[in-house]
Symmetry: C2
């Protein structure tokens, strides 16, 4: 006699939400398949440190299948999900549209860079969502210094040493704050480099940085960035962008060879078949994180548009991803036992963004923390989280080593820009 058929759960995405869901399903009588188009889980909050050559890619990532090696009822497959067919309950994978059927589906595919109708800007202003994105920014950042060193005129050198970061959210703030700090370590190595010619400009369309944070923290972040020499311009809109600079709505032109994009993200196109959507393509999920009308499909992590009790949207950060991923898994377990669906309750862990190497702004509950104290908090929280997938001691040691030495081995220019974008179809050769 064959055993009763087990529920087939498919998870799309190996980020925080996808991993949390898979882990929560461990030891339950379901067969889990997790699909991701990369082979690694990324500790995305530290991606900007890879982009600025502070940490190596391997410091902030692990193979997804290693992270889930003890979840014996989960198999991990490398594959790019092209479409979800909610009627036939299958996902279609890769160019050959291989079908993988599901009884329950958890969509945790995350966000991608968005250029608001100016897709041609991407070539000149790379975004920062994947490891390949970070390596592309690192390559450009380091090449700019090489070009400045070989420049034949002061004007040329100045253009190579002007970095524009577009977008004043946490990613833009952290990226802009780290650039002058890393550049400082270059003084002894680039014979022609004069630190006073470095120019980092942070552009934000809204009237303050970190608009999701408390206004007092926004103001402090601005002061801290300016203290590092970053030029902060709020209330400014980019109207044109090309290989040699950006033009602003007020008519200003900033000549810069290196422009980085942290201004916009949009939902994975996978949500297209799932309604209702908000304007950035996120799914307006039911209280239990399922898709209205499709209780067998859950949308979690950044892709889920969920309102906090005060009516605001809850932020797309790692703790939310962990919580919603685990909640979807819990609802699937409830289904197994015939239990009721419960609404997801957000637990707000606070806001946190670093500025440079030794400062941060944070809010926990109703308390604002800034400066070095906030940075220590940031360090503590991140080490704690990272520890979830790497050996705790080794992470602390590697970090300490990286911070003290600016681990020069990481400052590698590898690969090339061509061919890496659009994101390669990982199974291209099949």
């Amino acid at each position: 006699m064959s055993p009763p058929a087990r529920l087939r759960v498919v998870i799309i995405g190996g980020g925080f939400a996808g991993l949390a869901a898979a882990r929560a399903l461990r030891k339950h009588p379901v067969d889990v398949t997790l699909l991701d188009r990369t082979n690694h889980h990324l500790f995305q909050p530290l991606l900007y440190q890879v982009a600025t050559a502070m940490l190596a890619p391997s410091d902030i990532s692990v193979p997804i299948r290693w992270a889930l090696r003890r979840v014996r009822n989960c198999r991990v497959l490398l594959g790019d999900v092209k479409r979800i067919d909610v009627e036939r309950r299958v996902v279609l994978v890769d160019a050959d549209q291989r079908e993988i059927p599901y009884d329950r589906l958890i969509v945790a595919a995350g966000m991608c860079n968005a250029y608001f109708g100016h897709d041609e800007w991407e070539d000149h202003a790379p975004g920062l969502k994947s490891l390949d994105d970070a390596l592309r920014i690192r390559r450009r950042f380091l090449l700019a210094f090489e070009r400045a060193e070989a420049a034949r005129s002061e004007e040329q050198r100045r253009r190579w040493l002007t970095f524009v970061v577009i977008g004043g959210g946490p990613t833009g703030v952290e990226l802009a704050g780290m650039l002058p700090e890393v550049a400082r370590a270059f003084r002894r190595e680039y014979r022609a480099y004069d630190p006073t010619s470095l120019r980092v400009v942070l552009l934000e369309g809204g009237d303050r940085l970190l608009s999701a944070f408390d206004p007092a923290l926004s103001a402090q972040a601005r002061r801290d960035l300016e203290g590092l020499g970053v030029e902060v311009r709020t209330g400014t809109r980019v109207t044109a962008l090309d290989q040699h600079g950006v033009s602003l709505a007020d008519g200003t032109r900033i000549e810069a060879e290196e422009i980085f994009w942290a201004a916009g993200i949009a939902a994975s196109p996978l949500t297209q078949g799932l309604v209702p959507l908000d304007k950035s393509g996120r799914v307006l999920v039911a209280p239990d994180c399922s898709v209205p009308g499709h209780p067998e499909v859950f949308v979690v992590g950044d892709l889920a548009a969920i309102r906090a009790p005060d009516g605001s949207w809850i932020p797309g950060v790692a703790p939310t991803a962990n919580q919603t991923g685990a909640h979807a898994a819990a609802m699937i377990v409830a289904d197994l036992h015939g239990g009721p669906r419960r609404p997801y309750r957000w637990f707000n862990k606070g806001d946190l963004a670093t500025i440079g190497r030794h400062k941060a702004v944070a809010r926990f509950g109703r308390v604002n923390v800034t400066g070095y104290a906030a940075w220590l908090l940031w360090l503590f929280v991140h080490v704690l989280y990272l520890a979830g997938f790497r050996n705790r001691l080794s992470v602390v040691l590697q970090w300490a080593y990286a911070y003290v030495t600016f681990q020069r081995g990481v400052r590698l220019i590898t690969g090339s820009d061509t061919g890496e974008y659009p994101v390669p179809d990982t199974l291209r050769r099949v």
Copy 2:
């Protein structure tokens, strides 16, 4: 009154030979310019460990300008030297043929992969000379296991798990020996992976592996490899090679999706204007390492064809590169003082190749060492050398950590194959 003009020394290449030359010129009244088309010095003897995902790229490389930060009379420029004009005493750099004049030139540009008239093989059988090469092999190696996991037939799976290494020199032996060791760590992560279906084939055209080594060591290396499960075939010639396998001269066909090339290297094309050359394009240098008829041009490192006292060619290994680079620098210093040119004397430091993670074969003086003892020797020698450019303790710790844990963070699939080959023109965007 302006100071007397200083001698302008140009060094092409930031490998062992180029760095040794630059360092030996420190504190002498010359202006040194070192050119390299990458920004990093590579500890090439460990490149195969990056290719097999044992070490991270940053573990075995440092920025050249960091390595030379204390050589204050040396500037480092990122640039691809296209041609040497020995008559006009200039090197021509990058696509725009920027000219850099020299009074003394040290050519240390090294070797590149050679396919003996079958350049089309390169697409299917990547070589292992640069960090980008290693990352390409790493990507293919890891992708093969992903493909095997998703395979729909046993035959398909078997093909993905067959790895062919062509070339039985040190690189081929070290690569082939490491593959089964790393694959062993995958057992717990790939649900469908059966270690007995892994097949690693090492092909060598000559009648023994490590032909430059003592025959007893060749035999021991073969036994050690076979002990790891590697199929060794000597006296076999590849007649055809495509995406799905290789054909041998005896009519055998080996079906394999992943083929790695360690069979041939040729001199950098830069030697073309420098005569006389040997058949692989290396320069038959004068006893002082200069080019016959051009005492102001030195060729060092792998590019120099030099005979040992017994008439054999001295091997292109790191110690030789260090010695010849330093010798060329010493001859330039001698020129400054009107001293005579001296012949370079090779100091043979012995032969050394690892097999897997815990064995090696070595010869020091007239003593053969094999097995674990040789591996400990190998470890000691390499740590000692690596220490020249990284903090000694941190290297030992990182290595120990990597060996014990198979540091999973390194197992990253990044980038894509397209666009990385041919080697990107690093200053393409200028």
